[in-house]
């Protein structure tokens, strides 16, 4: 079974985000970019499936700017076998929408025929939490989102999902879409020898035109602004003072 893992290049989760003065977006020039943390978990899971003899080949695919090659190389260094870059944006400020990404991924799925597509549950830049579900809809495939445990069975997969109130176990037929949550695994770091080896692994370059997919956005960005900021309050000297303030000043207890 082939496993396809879509990986997105996003602002590193440690970077302090700044809104641009002209309110058109956030400042992405010269900031550290990394693989979306959830996608690292997805790549890790694919590698573990391969190590367990459940997966035969791992293909990482990214949609975005040319520099997403770096993100794909990270996936290859972790252990993926080959990569596909779909260059769909010219500047880092263009975020290809989940619907367009899902349509492109559906075309890749048609070509590659994977048994499983493992995505992150959410990209930490647009916070959409949508691409996996949309891809499942476009393909008419089952979906298991927010996975914290994945087990491949004879006729499909059993997945434990993080849901409101606790955990839910479902069975899905394969081929299927699984989106991964934080507790699924702890992704490995790529070793130096593997980083070197990754440079020789194949990377295919594609464009949306190759797949006949229209990626023009459906949402027009009107403006992007800073959230209302919160002022730091006061330090209290004791628990008794804290409780007094909560009762008599804030009136919340």
């Amino acid at each position: 079974m082939k496993v396809l893992v879509p990986v997105k290049r996003v602002i590193d989760y440690n970077v302090k985000v700044r809104v641009k003065a002209d309110n058109t977006g956030v400042d992405l020039a010269n900031v550290k970019m990394s693989m979306n943390p959830f996608d690292e978990i997805a790549v890790e899971e694919a590698i573990r499936l391969k190590e367990a003899g459940k997966a035969s080949e791992i293909i990482v695919v990214s949609v975005g700017v040319k520099q997403s090659q770096e993100t794909l190389r990270t996936g290859l260094a972790m252990g993926a076998d080959r990569a596909i870059l779909i260059e769909a944006a010219e500047t880092v400020d263009t975020d290809v929408e989940p619907l367009a990404v899902a349509k492109l991924l559906a075309k890749v799925v048609e070509e590659e025929q994977p048994g499983l597509v493992l995505l992150g549950k959410q990209a930490i830049d647009n916070d959409c939490n949508a691409t996996g579900q949309m891809l499942a809809a476009v393909l008419g495939w089952p979906q298991a989102t927010f996975a914290s445990k994945l087990e491949i069975t004879d006729d499909g997969a059993q997945v434990i999902r993080e849901v409101d109130g606790g955990l839910q176990t479902i069975k899905i037929k394969t081929p299927a879409i699984v989106t991964v949550d934080l507790r699924l695994n702890e992704p490995r770091y790529a070793s130096l020898p593997n980083i070197m080896k990754a440079k020789k692994k194949p990377m295919e370059m594609k464009t949306p035109a190759d797949y006949g997919v229209d990626v023009s956005p459906r949402l027009e960005v009107v403006k992007v602004v800073e959230p209302a900021s919160r002022q730091a309050g006061i330090k209290v000297g004791s628990v008794a003072e804290l409780v007094d303030k909560l009762k008599n000043e804030a009136g919340v207890i």
Binding site: D125, N129, M134, A136, W141, L182, V224, K247
Partner: protein
């Protein structure tokens, strides 16, 4: 055209988060229909019919919809879509799972985690863990929306809508199958609707120690939350996680104990009315958003807080 709201319910009543989502769609000023599905859900449908602003309830009494699997739900909603311009649900785990699939089926871009509806086609939503607020205008004919409900109040009674029975489209249920559910048992209020939330972080050190948080919460009739680090370490169940990739809360009072205040955590609680932080490191970033900060060892401060609260209550 009308609005369709997908309701979550427990069989007898519409959930708090769906009631808040109903309030959120009010600015659309459109006729609003509520979809209630599931076996033995008549009472929940009747409840929906009494809500202010609801003009029709679409009711599907069908066991297959009792567990909220995305495939049959999305197919059901897509089959109803022709009559609606807006299709809305609360941005719960279930709402996110189902509605993005609906958008995919309808070939429209999802509007996730919407915090304000400005007009029929213009919406506000946080991005980058709430470090930026984006206003977008949708060019799609239909808008599929999940609402971040934290800051909305629950819709109240005051309607008398008709309940109309509907049928499910073809059987899509074979794609996935429910096996079991392991719900964290708690008699505490729900995290997303509680007036007070007490959260614990990595500093608690063990699930036994995490009981300190429960005890403080009990004194305040509060819900219990946690940071990702506390959940990852197994001190607290997964659905306690507050933050960018967990739950978003905005209670009257949020007490963060032994939590550093990473941006991913702040994303889930910084709209709380009053924030209290107890942390032994006076440089901890959580103090930058706290109205009241106490620099102290939690293992001394939390038990003392429990006692002081008891005095106030007594």
């Amino acid at each position: 055209m009308a609005v369709l709201l997908l309701a979550e319910h427990d069989g007898s009543a519409v959930s708090e988060s769906s009631l808040k989502a109903l309030t959120a769609v009010a600015p659309l000023g459109a006729e609003t229909h509520v979809l209630v599905a599931g076996g033995g859900s008549k009472a929940a449908a009747d409840h929906a019919a009494t809500l202010q602003g609801v003009s029709k309830v679409l009711h599907l009494d069908d066991e297959a919809f009792s567990v909220r699997l995305a495939e049959p739900y999305a197919a059901l909603i897509a089959a109803q879509a022709a009559n609606y311009e807006h299709i809305v649900a609360a941005a719960t785990a279930s709402g996110k799972n189902i509605m993005a699939r609906v958008a995919g089926l309808l070939d429209v871009m999802i509007l996730s985690d919407v915090t304000a509806i400005e007009s029929a086609d213009t919406f506000e939503r946080p991005i980058y863990a709430g470090n930026a607020i984006m206003t977008v205008k949708s060019k799609d004919a239909k808008k599929v929306v999940t609402v971040r409900t934290a800051t909305f109040s629950a819709a109240e009674a005051g309607g008398a809508a008709v309940v109309e029975a509907i049928t499910a489209p073809g059987d899509d249920a074979s794609l996935s199958e429910f096996v079991s559910e392991d719900k964290a048992q708690t008699d505490r209020p729900q995290l997303t609707s509680a007036k007070v939330v007490v959260s614990g972080g990595r500093a608690l050190g063990s699930s036994e120690n995490f009981a300190i948080i429960d005890r403080v919460a009990e004194k305040l009739n509060a819900a219990v939350g946690a940071s990702r680090a506390a959940v990852d370490s197994g001190y607290a169940p997964n659905d306690y996680q507050v933050g960018q990739t967990g739950k978003v809360v905005a209670p009257d009072l949020y007490i963060a104990i032994g939590i550093s205040g990473a941006i991913q955590h702040l994303a889930g609680m910084k709209d709380s009315k009053v924030i209290v932080a107890i942390n032994k490191d006076e440089e901890a970033p959580i103090f930058q958003v706290a109205d009241y900060g106490l620099v102290a060892d939690l293992f001394e401060a939390a038990p003392e807080l429990e006692k002081e609260l008891e005095k106030v209550a007594g």
